[in-house]
Symmetry: C2
Subunit: 235 residues, 2 copies
Amino acid sequence: MTQPTSAVKTPPRRNDATRARNEQAILTAAERIFARHGYRGASVQAIAEAAELPKSNVLYYMGSKQALYVRLLARMMKRWNALLDDISVEDDPAEVLTAFIERKMQLSRRHPEGSRLFAAEILGGAPFLQEYLHGELREWVEGRARVFEQWAERGLMDPVNPVWLIFLIWSSTQHYADFEAQVLGITGKDALDDADTEEITAFLTRVVLKGCGVQSRQKAPPERKMPSYSVRNDA
Amino acid sequence: MTQPTSAVKTPPRRNDATRARNEQAILTAAERIFARHGYRGASVQAIAEAAELPKSNVLYYMGSKQALYVRLLARMMKRWNALLDDISVEDDPAEVLTAFIERKMQLSRRHPEGSRLFAAEILGGAPFLQEYLHGELREWVEGRARVFEQWAERGLMDPVNPVWLIFLIWSSTQHYADFEAQVLGITGKDALDDADTEEITAFLTRVVLKGCGVQSRQKAPPERKMPSYSVRNDA
DNA sequence: GTCTATACAAGGATAGAC
DNA sequence: GTCTATCCTTGTATAGAC
C-alpha cells in the first residue's frame, strides 16, 4: 500500500507473494493459538512456531501481539456480519429460522478456530468487544426480536421471548465448535463429518421450530428429512 | 495430614483458621482468574493479588500453579456430578427433563466462575479432562441416552437423537454463564437476577419439551407458568 | 525485506530469613 | 508457618546485521 505501483526502483517484486503467504500463515496459526489459550495465554513464540516463521517475523508483519489479535477478531466479526441479513415481518418464519440455524452451523463448522477465538474473548469478559456487543450486535438483535414479536402477534409462532430464542440458537450451534473436545470425547469420534453436521442441523431446526410453535405460511411444513437417526453413532 | 493428631508439641494451633481462610480466598480468586484467562493466561501473581496474599503464599498453600488448577477443576466436576442422578425408563420424561434443565441452570448460576473455568478448559482442547470426557462423562451420557430412546419407543417423546438433545440442554443453559458478557451487553443489563433466570429456565423447558414432543404420563402437562413474557426487558 | 541478537519486564518456583 | 529475596525461564518488543 505504501509502495507506488510503478516505482523506478522495484526492489520488492517477487516478495509480494511471499508476504501474502507469510501473512496468511501467521493469521491461520494465530487464530488457532489464540483460540486455544486466550489472549494472554497465547505467546508470539508459539504462534511463530505454528506458522513456521521466526518470532520477530510475526511482529514485523503484524506490528504487535495486540494488533494481530484485534485483526483476527475483526475478521471473525466480518464473517459473522456476512450472514446477518435483514428480515421483515413479511418473510416466512419457518424459512427464516431454518436458514438462520443452518448458516450459523455452517459458520461454526467452517471457522471453528475463529468461533473459539470469539468464545475465549467473551469468556474473558469481552475486553476488546464491549463496543460491538453493546452497539452493533445489540441493535441487530433488537431488530430481529421485533420481527419475532410481530410474527407471534400474527399467530405465526408462540409468544416466546425473542432474545432468549436468539441466544438458544446461538448457543446450541456454537456448542459444536467451542466444546468440540467434549463432543468428540463423548461421541468417541475423531471429528464430526458433513453427515453429522447435517443431522445436528436438522435436529436443532426441528426442535426449535416445533418448540416455538412456528407455522409455515407456505404449503407443506418445512420439516427437513425426518431426523429420526437410524443407528446410534458412538464409537 | 502429616501432623499427628495429638502431637506433644502443638505449634500450629490458632493457625488452622487462618489456613482455612487463606485457602478459601485463594480458591475463590483462582477460579475467577483461571476462568477469565485460561490456564496459561492466568498468572500466580494475579491470583495472589486477587486473594490479597503474597505470591509465594499461594504456591506454599497449593504447591504449584498446576496443582491449584487441577484442584479447581476437580471441585467443579464434583459439583457437576452432584446433580447427575440416575434415571430409569419408569420415570416421567417431562419431570426428568424439566429437573435436568432447572438444575443445570442453577449450577451455572451459582458457580459462574467454575462454569467458565470448565468452558476455558474445553475450549483449549481439554488437556486435563481427556480421561473424564472419554470415560465417566461418556458413560453417563450413554446411560441417559438409552433411557431417552426407550421413552421414544414407548411413544413418550419424539425419536430424536438423545445425545444431541443432551448437548442442546447443556449448551443452552451453559450459555448464560459462559457468554455472560455477551448476554449483558445485548440485554443492556448489569446482571441477570432471579426473575430472569426463572424466565429463561421456563423458556428453555418449554421449547425443549414441546420441541421433542415430550408427553407427561401424569395428569396435566407440566408446562410451567406460561413464559409469555409480558414486557420487553431491555435497558 | 528478513532474521539474529538482545533488552528488559514478568512468569513460576524455591531458599532462607523471620 | 509466613514472607522477602532471588533464580532462571519465558514473555514482548526492538535494534541492527545481513
